[in-house]
Amino acid sequence: MTKYGMVIDLGSCLGCGACIAACDFENQTPWEEGKRRTHVPEFIFGEYPNVERLFVPRLCMHCEDPPCVAVCPTGASYKNEDGVVLVRYDMCIGCKYCVVACPYNARYVDERKHAIDKCTFCYNNRVSQGREPACVESCVGGARIFGDLEDPNSEVYKLIHSGEAVPLRADLGTHPKVRYIFRRKKREGD
């Protein structure tokens, strides 16, 4: 069994947006309408001279208990055998219940497909062929780490099990498989 997940190391994100461009290109998102599968919003904390700037890449969290799947009447939204949350476009009637139900603002209506779309972890076009998602491959800072959360040798497994990578809003109970590192622990050789 595989369970794909991603760890995002915020300390390594430069905010360059290469992942956004790679995703838009790879997945042909309707980006001209502002609809994308991943975003990199910027946050500024504090006041001069003690200012901190943080980029927080966001995408579908591929929740283990996804509310979007729970509300979908036709089963168009589903979690596949590798834990990736996907949409069967031909089964989607476009009721938009899933868009409203997603607490991580990950879904949008693709007017060309007349269906809902969202991040797929590039499952069909890359991951199933042994490649990494486009955003991971293109990340300049190496901030996005992708892998199998059930494989104890994978980096994502280690980062999560060491408690370093944590979910956003764990209290919502959806068990996101995208985790974040806010402060990286010092390692040997660092």
Partner: protein, 320 residues
């Protein structure tokens, strides 16, 4: 304050759908009362048909909101059907509402216009009193469930904390019954105007009964709204923001003005005044309850709209 994401995916069409579903559902229960408790078949039939039409128009608005309305059938027959989805459950409730409603209407003994009358009188259940009453009860239950479901559909979502409360379905049910009652009040008045003079006092009496019921329902609604809003001023953060939007922010004219004042407080006073002046032996007239009815209906529609538009979605960024 950081940028809030306010729900904007479900707009006017879904608001109309939720409103009409509630009003039709509530109206059906009132129709049952007039048929089977008051033996006024004319008022019962016309109110029940009106309720059915209202719900069907509501469903059309839901369809209009879909990206693929032509594939709506998948809700019932998709190979991956999800029986836990509130949309599947709601669609099943609506189907039974329409089915039982049609059986109920066609069972009531009533002088239908010529052609229709001929067809309906051929139906084996036409005029069967126990069948009428059974179908009336089933249609009323389905009507109640329709009204309840319109609140639950939104209430189950945790993505906007302001919606995730038992107060929401309760508020929608109270509003559904209130709008259903005043809908029948308007039907009653239309029949009353056309009735011969000798029968008018009956419709006058119904007007007062319905006005009184509505006044009670409005007070329940006001109590729910007050509790709902008041408790959420204590958080969570997103729901607090929703309360702010509704009470002092951009939606305040719609909510405080349109719903609370125009749609509830004023109608309540009008209905109360009607009851008061009647008890003083004033001239019989249904004018005040009729004005109240129109305001209640407009307020009910705005209520659905503002609830949808005040859904502040969960804040998950930035990390603190």
């Amino acid at each position: 304050m950081m940028n809030l994401l306010i729900q904007h995916i479900w707009g006017v069409y879904i608001a109309i759908y939720l409103f009409l579903g509630g009003m039709g559902g509530g109206g059906m229960v009132v129709s049952y009362y007039f048929c089977c408790r008051r033996n006024d078949n004319k008022l019962a039939v016309i109110s029940a048909i009106t309720s059915l039409i209202i719900v069907i128009i509501g469903v059309l608005f839901l369809m209009l909101d879909l990206e693929k309305p032509e594939k709506f059938y998948l809700v019932f027959v998709s190979p991956h059907l999800n029986p836990h989805s509130m949309i599947f459950i709601g669609s099943s409730i609506l189907t039974s509402f329409i089915t039982f409603g049609l059986l109920f209407v066609t069972a009531i003994e009533f002088k239908w216009p010529s052609f229709l009358g001929k067809i309906i009188s051929l139906l084996p259940w036409y005029g069967n009193r126990s069948f009428t009453s059974a179908m009336g009860i089933l249609a009323s239950i389905a009507g109640f469930l329709t009204a309840f479901y319109t609140g639950v559909l939104i209430g189950v979502l945790k993505s906007a904390p302001f919606w995730h409360t038992p107060a929401l379905p309760l508020l929608f049910v109270a509003s559904a019954f209130s709008t259903g009652v005043v809908g029948v009040l308007l039907v009653n008045e239309t029949i009353g105007i056309m009735a011969p003079k000798s029968e008018r006092h009956k419709y006058q009496e119904y007007c007062s009964i319905l006005g009184e019921w509505d006044a009670i329902l409005i007070s329940i609604e006001l109590l729910i709204i007050f509790t709902y809003i008041f408790l959420f001023t204590y958080g969570p953060e997103e729901a607090e923001a929703s309360v702010y939007l509704l009470t002092t922010g951009s939606l305040a004219p719609w909510f405080m003005g349109g719903v609370v004042t125009m749609g509830l407080a004023i109608p309540f006073l009008l209905e109360y005044w009607h009851i008061f002046s009647e008890s003083r032996g004033g001239k019989p007239s249904c004018a005040l309850p009729i004005i109240a009815a129109i305001l209640v209906i407009i307020g009910g529609l705005i209520l659905r709209y503002v609830v949808l538009s005040s859904g502040v979605m969960t804040i998950f960024l930035p990390p603190s």
